[in-house]
Symmetry: C2
Subunit: 443 residues, 2 copies
Amino acid sequence: MEGLAKIEDLGKPRVVIVGGGFGGLELVKALRHVDMQVILIDKQNYHTFQPLLYQVATAGLSPDDIVSPFRKIMDEQANFYFRLAEVQRVDTVAQVVETSIGLVKYDYLVVATGATTNYFGDEQMQRNSIAIKSVEDAIELRNTVLSNFEKALQLGDEEQMNSLLDFVIVGGGPTGVEIAGALSELRKHVFPKDYKELDFKQMDIHLVQSGPSLLKGMSEEAAQKSLEYLRNYGVNVILDRRVKSYDGYTVTLNTGETLITRTLIWAAGVAGAPIDGIRKESLLKGGRYQVDEYNRVAGYENIFALGDIAAMITPATPEGHPMVAQPAIQQGHLLGQNFARLLAKQPLQPFHYHDKGAMATIGRNLAVADVKLMGKDYRTQGFLAWLMWTFVHLISLIGFRNRLFVLLSWTFSYFSNDKGLRYIIGKRREPMPVEATTEKAIV
Amino acid sequence: MEGLAKIEDLGKPRVVIVGGGFGGLELVKALRHVDMQVILIDKQNYHTFQPLLYQVATAGLSPDDIVSPFRKIMDEQANFYFRLAEVQRVDTVAQVVETSIGLVKYDYLVVATGATTNYFGDEQMQRNSIAIKSVEDAIELRNTVLSNFEKALQLGDEEQMNSLLDFVIVGGGPTGVEIAGALSELRKHVFPKDYKELDFKQMDIHLVQSGPSLLKGMSEEAAQKSLEYLRNYGVNVILDRRVKSYDGYTVTLNTGETLITRTLIWAAGVAGAPIDGIRKESLLKGGRYQVDEYNRVAGYENIFALGDIAAMITPATPEGHPMVAQPAIQQGHLLGQNFARLLAKQPLQPFHYHDKGAMATIGRNLAVADVKLMGKDYRTQGFLAWLMWTFVHLISLIGFRNRLFVLLSWTFSYFSNDKGLRYIIGKRREPMPVEATTEKAIV
């Protein structure tokens, strides 16, 4: 689009925020009483609570319970403007963002585009695997799992059937661990009732992790216990292996070993989602912008980046902050206050990360948690960690409705061992026909 | 598919039911303790509670709260088999159903395919309008409405903008009336907060009804009051007019009058969804099979039809029963019992319809109800009718979870006047570009 997008000019300093994830959203809220025009651009009209996407993918939660429309969240914020658009590039000289709905002028630009799945250049993997970065991804995975079982009912060939029943998850971070745990619970409690004609002893869940332990970045206790929990659940955790290739049917590991599956879940890496037009010199490896302690992108006075897309390199954080929700939220909050200081010509406050720790859940009553409380480390695994995980995720959700509905869904699941949202609505992936003969229905 | 679909042969009489709507589902349940193999074929893996689809379309309910996976509903029913498949035709001589997953043999066949939208042969209308017969339809309508407003923000030309803000609903039956009411409530309470930059005085809701009154088949009081309620809500109810054509932008009425809209909701008619291979002589106008009082399709001993697709012509019902949930449910229930009688070589019971009446809701505290209780007619409009409507729909939903979640959603909406599920996820319809120049973003 060539012309200017139609947005009132308030004659006030205008900050354009690209991306309404944890960081962007927190920034918008922090600017509530700041005398600026706040424009949020996102390609979705809702915020996604990413930590619970894996539960949407495994029929435990409705997509509706973990998303919140931006316009609804900010109903009361007078200086807030939202535009549903894709950002194509930035012209930093003219100070305009080029979007699918036209040009948007800015005085200050904040890049909060987060991260996308990193396939490390493997296009075949990108085509054949499923990621869990968006609600649409999670819905697609749910639909695909269920469709696979419906199809498996028609197969007689054992390898063919197994290719539909088996799952390979690549990446032993929180997402990989959590999805492996959730699939195990479905295998134990739900699928055998739904598909009495299938033998779920044949359903294998493989979790491939390139390093020697799970949950890199968490404590050794967390890594050990999560491994123990998953193995008790019957997950085949394969450590110290990399996936070399996947053609939609055969997974080949770096050792030459192979696994057969129609469904490979790729949770092995993320990379920043940079925007064209911002100087390449500021882009570090992993697609993150180098920012100073005020989240200013190196080389610019009026362009900021925060959250996953920002690498704040300091002596204490030589690799930047972890690409999770907390740094994004804290940076968004501080940046909002710093904009107020900027307008008042007061000195800006530098960012200090308050690391609250990390958690991952494996299943019912089972989680691992490394918590920092008033500077002290607490490590716990099992029921207490699970309670903490549950509590923290509930209060972090946006809005009373979503909290209540998730709490109720969890309460139902807890007492019934059921995950009831097992319908196929929306996009699904058709497994590639492998051999025409074996796909035929047989008696 | 040529071969037989893979389904165990139990050596018992096998009934194949095509379609898991109200009738098919009730029949499956009624066959719980009957010594038959019960096979349900549906192209979705879930039952849809159609009466509340309009609330999904207007962001009031989550699609997840009005659907129930067949396998979950029938978890405990040992003689139940489900197949996700599309039925292509029936070979009544060989007694097989040809489906997308292969041939399925039957001893008894029950056609419970319901009804589809009837465009009366108008292909242009079919292409350009949106119906509300399935969850996917309802999601598409919700996404389209929201996308329209996002797009309207970029338009300066008044007619163009109005084409996105205005809605034309064709058909003054319950669906048309309910969707018109729900859109009015959104216009009054929700959209002005979400889209402060748009002028909702410009949003027109037109309801076009071919006859002289709304809610044909209900009492005169119901027709009168629903008209009054809708007009008080600011709906432009146009009686005694037919829509002659719609090109995606201009609606032309039979009088030559025109309306401009990008979104025409077609709720003007349904027709049965017959299956190829069943004798055409049994098919009456409206695409319904002529059945006897045991729901047997004319000309067959072992083929039955029930619900919307069945026309049980008797002196008392010269046009068959109304195409709504109640006759389908009652026929499904009786047919299940009759199968037991059939196997026991006992005489079958003929069907008698217990008409419980009809209802439609317009909005908060406003509904119309014609109720039959112990043979007596009660007619009520307003708050009491609304309470009855609410209660009846709640208890008719399947499963405790859906009932609780719908009750909570309604309670939230009632006290907040809000309908919170305003996200664009899944399929949406892009409005056709009308003139390239006017679609351009302008300052």
